[in-house]
């Protein structure tokens, strides 16, 4: 069976599980099935009260810098494997932003780490992974 190289959305947050998701994509690189890797970091929005005191440009600069801190190490890891990468930073509820970027970029797959808050706590808090699974239109690979 031949398959077209796939465009993968790889949301990262710098956690151990997220790093393992990066490693998984790197391991898949040898198969030749990984086309482009779109690394995404989602920043939680600051409260409306804060944005009343701090200008939009400062706020975006802050989100950008915080996002790049997470994206850079993942980028160099993926680039080492000889994969084509692009970086993205979004602000909002993680699951919504992940799915929107996936639609926007036309990605074929999502590979991401789980938050590790399973069981009762995960149910109570509505974990990001559960939400992505519910909303995504493409296959989702969860790494833990």
């Amino acid at each position: 069976m031949t398959m077209k190289p796939r465009k993968i959305l790889l949301p990262v947050d710098g956690s151990d599980n997220s790093n393992r998701a990066v490693e998984l994509v790197v391991a898949y690189a040898a198969s030749g099935l990984v086309g482009e890797v779109h690394l995404l970091n989602v920043q939680r929005p600051v409260s409306g009260d804060v944005s009343a005191f701090v200008g939009k440009r400062v706020l975006q600069g802050f989100h950008h810098d915080e996002g790049m801190k997470v994206l850079r190490p993942a980028e160099s890891r993926v680039a080492q494997a000889g994969l084509k990468t692009a970086l993205h930073i979004g602000v909002g509820e993680p699951a919504d932003i992940i799915v929107e970027f996936c639609d926007d970029l036309g990605c074929d797959d999502i590979v991401m780490g789980t938050r590790g808050l399973g069981g009762a706590v995960g149910l109570l808090l509505g974990s990001v992974t559960t939400d992505v699974l519910a909303k995504s239109k493409v296959p989702v690979t969860l790494v833990k």
Binding site: P45, V54, G55, V58, I89, G92, E100, L125
Partner: protein
Amino acid sequence: MLTSPEFWEGLIKILGVNIVLSGDNAVVIALASRSLPVHLRSKAIWLGAGGAVVLRLIFCFFIVELMAIPYLKIIGAVLLVWIGVKMLVPEHEENGENENGNGAAAGIWAAIKTIVVADAVMSLDNVIAIVAAAKGDIVLIGVGLAISVPLIIYGSTLILKILIRYPIFVALGAGLIGWIAGEIWISDPAIAGWSKGLIDRHGHWLETAAAALGAVSVVVAGKLIARSVVAKRERKALVDLAAGENK
């Protein structure tokens, strides 16, 4: 004083409340000082935070006095429930109108002004919760503020990371605020006679039950409201802040 369990219980509550409710203040401090040169940054942070502590102490004094007036503890409890619920509803970042804002302020005094003014406006919830947790004990309030403010300044980035990565702590914080709300309304001067009679007759578990009821209602109401608010929220255009990084 240091040997009484009430003092330690109060202190721990104050620290907990301060940490979970000061996230926004920590963000403003970080953002307002961001545009300053490095050598001015810590000066702005400390002067700004110092001003904020003084303002908070003054607010606390007022609120302690107010709490002695009948019905105001009940109103305070209602406010606390609202504050706790609000913590659980996901934030919506307003980014459109405030094109420049004070945050892009150039000088150190502008940064300090932003920190202090933002703190004065945003710490009201915090102050109500502190006074309620301390049950009006002004020494406890002073000690609590003196410990928690440096903790917030030094630990702000760490605290934010923990609250973002482990939302369970946000829920615990909201529960703590609900617990405090449940505790204070029954000691309101307007109903203290009635509630004291009930407690004398049935035992102290009633106080604990009132507090626990406050905690549970805040968390449940917060979760339910969060769900409906998020469902109704309008989609915003997707903005990619890393767009400039891709060649």
